[in-house]
């Protein structure tokens, strides 16, 4: 495997937002990062992307410390979609997606033909082909999210990091997006809020609480009522489909007991 962390810790202003997390994805799998707000999902994504340096431990790309890899070389391997990436620039969808080609370009453009092909491909895969000429500030929240994902796809990465990519998306696009990610021949690390989506699509899960990893493994092993109660402080019933082995979670309103699935 290529992008990994070993006992990685990020001390941000005296607070351990990520505390000794080890992540070793298998090539091509989709890993779901779960945990409540403030549990360190976004911070772990930022560490993996190389946007920040760990205070302790190490993030490695092909067994080299990510801090020792040139940013440009890292950007050819790793694409990241963060939350809340906004702009005041009047820029079209196509130009934004084309930003993903920057790490592949030479000084003055490089291979324009493969650039154009990658951009068109990314637009089509994200259902944005007919929005290519649209300006960013005229897009809906969900469309903006898809534009960022298209930009990341145009980067043609081996590793894809996504911080809550399903936010703002209609349920149809949530499902299509995760379907797309799991079908891509890349290793993906996806921070998710929705446990059912995580259970449906991820190959394995890593659950964070207060910056620490509290559970890891296949969705059906990880998403137990006990773990959900411990991490999210809610009651839930979990049913595992016998055919697919995928868990489905039904939450109980606060104050009542979960009735089934234990």
């Amino acid at each position: 495997m290529t992008l990994q962390t070993r006992e990685v810790t990020w001390n941000r202003g005296g607070r351990l937002v990520v505390d000794g997390v080890t992540l070793r994805p298998r090539q091509g799998e989709t890993i779901g990062l779960l945990g409540p707000n403030g549990s360190g999902k976004s911070s772990l994504i930022r560490l993996l992307s190389g946007a920040v340096k760990p205070s302790a431990g190490v993030v490695t790309l092909d067994d080299r410390s990510l801090t020792a890899v040139a940013r440009r070389e890292a950007a050819r391997a790793i694409a990241t979609v963060t939350q809340h990436a906004d702009t005041v620039v009047d820029i079209t969808v196509r130009d934004i997606v084309a930003l993903g080609r920057i790490p592949h370009r030479g000084v003055f453009g490089g291979d324009r033909r493969s650039d154009a092909a990658a951009v068109s491909d990314a637009l089509a895969r994200t259902g944005l082909a007919d929005k290519a000429a649209e300006l960013w500030h005229r897009l809906s929240g969900g469309e903006r999210q898809r534009v960022h994902i298209a930009r990341a796809l145009a980067q043609e990465p081996r590793e894809l990091l996504l911080d809550e990519p399903t936010n703002h998306l209609d349920i149809r696009y949530q499902l299509e997006l995760l379907q797309l990610i799991t079908e891509l021949p890349v290793t993906s690390v996806v921070a998710l809020h929705d446990l059912n989506l995580a259970g449906m699509y991820c190959d394995s899960l890593l659950v964070l609480k207060d910056g620490r990893a509290v559970a890891a493994g296949a969705p059906a092993e990880v998403l137990t009522p006990d773990l959900i109660a411990h991490v999210y402080e809610v009651d839930a019933a979990v049913a595992v489909d016998e055919g697919t082995g995928r868990p489905t979670i039904a939450f109980s309103p606060p104050g009542r007991r979960a009735s089934a699935g234990r």
């Binding site: 940013r71 370009r105 650039d115 068109s120 895969r125």
Partner: protein
């Protein structure tokens, strides 16, 4: 996210490759032609009786090695006075526009211009310290003092922003604070120490002036602007990558901190050089990038050259008009840029709103 009919769906909607506005070559050539025509017009215009034929003869004599007889006084007006002045104006407009483009991208703020970093007010303080207090005296001169003052002010801005925790907003806030501080220092020095002669001398410089530009000024400004333009052109994609902030830029392979320091340094040195020679000329760095964006869109591989070209042409015209229309006591060119620039800025705001 429909995974199937991939390529053909997208290829019909727009011409490849990655560009959004195919009119770039036309706009670029048009702007270059406009600049040449503007310089030609600027060296023909003026109160002295010099005809277009005289101008052509002078240019042929100097550039083409011809030996057409032209009266010495006319030759001096065109070749030693108007042409260097027009070329410095062009360099100044191009350089200030360029700095505006860079800062608006790096600071992600459409209101950023070379002066938000305190550069011009620092230059003013440096100029009055030398020109009125006499510190450094003849060795330094007003340009030397202005250069030192502007670099110093920029360093103070970055230091304050750093100590306050960093970030684009902090840079702009620190810039505003430092601008105010140095403006106050400038006024203080003028009111406390200057007699009226010294005030007049310094005041003209403070408002921006291209009086008395000579060929050595042309070479200095031209070299600084050419170097700055090449630097930005070669790194145009880096400026694009900052559109969505530092994290996205970093994920696109940009070394954020190093790029930031390099671009800021180039901008500060270029602005300091121009300001030290021409004085504090406002509004060009703010307005011209917006005008260029309106013409060729936001991608910097087009925006950088077009801003430089139209900035240059703009400045040549403003200077020519300020010089001719208010003859014999010319209007300081900084006043002219603001008088023309503000309505232009507002017009662009309205046009963009309507286009949106």
């Amino acid at each position: 996210m429909t995974p199937s009919p991939v390529r053909d769906a997208a290829e019909t909607d727009r011409p490849p490759p990655t560009g959004s506005r195919p009119r770039f070559p036309g706009v670029g050539l048009g702007a270059a032609a406009l600049l040449l025509a503007s310089i030609g017009a600027a060296i023909t215009l003026g109160p002295a009786d010099v005809s277009l034929v005289n101008v052509r003869d002078v240019l042929f004599n100097h550039l083409g090695g011809a030996e057409i007889p032209v009266r010495v006084s006319k030759e001096a007006i065109v070749w030693d006075d108007r042409l260097p002045r027009a070329l410095v104006a062009a360099a100044c407009g191009a350089g200030l526009g360029l700095c505006g483009v860079v800062l608006q991208s790096l600071l992600r703020n459409p209101l950023a211009d070379p002066y938000v970093l305190g550069i011009s007010s620092g230059a003013s303080t440096g100029a009055v310290v030398v020109g009125i207090l006499g510190v450094g005296g003849a060795a330094l001169g007003i340009p030397g003092g202005a250069f030192i003052g502007s670099v110093l002010a920029f360093a103070v801005v970055l230091l304050i922003a750093r100590l306050a925790g960093g970030g684009d907003d902090k840079v702009i806030l620190a810039g505003i604070a430092v601008t105010q501080l140095f403006s106050a220092l400038t006024s203080f020095v003028i009111f406390a120490f200057a007699d009226s002669d010294a005030t007049r001398g310094v005041m003209f410089w403070l408002l921006g002036s291209l009086e008395g530009m000579r060929w050595n000024d042309v070479w200095l400004c031209g070299a600084a602007v050419a170097a700055g333009t090449m630097f930005c052109l070669f790194r145009a994609p880096v400026l694009d990558a900052f559109a969505f902030g530092d994290d996205v830029a970093s994920s696109l392979g940009v070394s954020v901190r190093r790029s930031r320091v390099m671009f800021m340094t180039v901008t500060a040195l270029l602005t300091a050089t121009l300001v030290s020679i021409c004085g504090a000329i406002g509004f060009v760095g703010l307005v011209l990038p917006h005008a260029a964006r309106f013409l060729v869109g936001p991608l910097h591989v087009r925006l950088v050259p077009v801003t430089a070209l139209i900035g240059a042409a703009f400045m040549v015209w403003v200077d020519a008009v300020s010089r001719v229309a208010f003859s014999p006591s010319p209007l300081p060119v900084g006043v002219g840029t603001a008088l023309v620039g503000v309505p232009m800025f507002i017009a662009i705001m309205f046009r963009r709103r309507r286009a949106a």
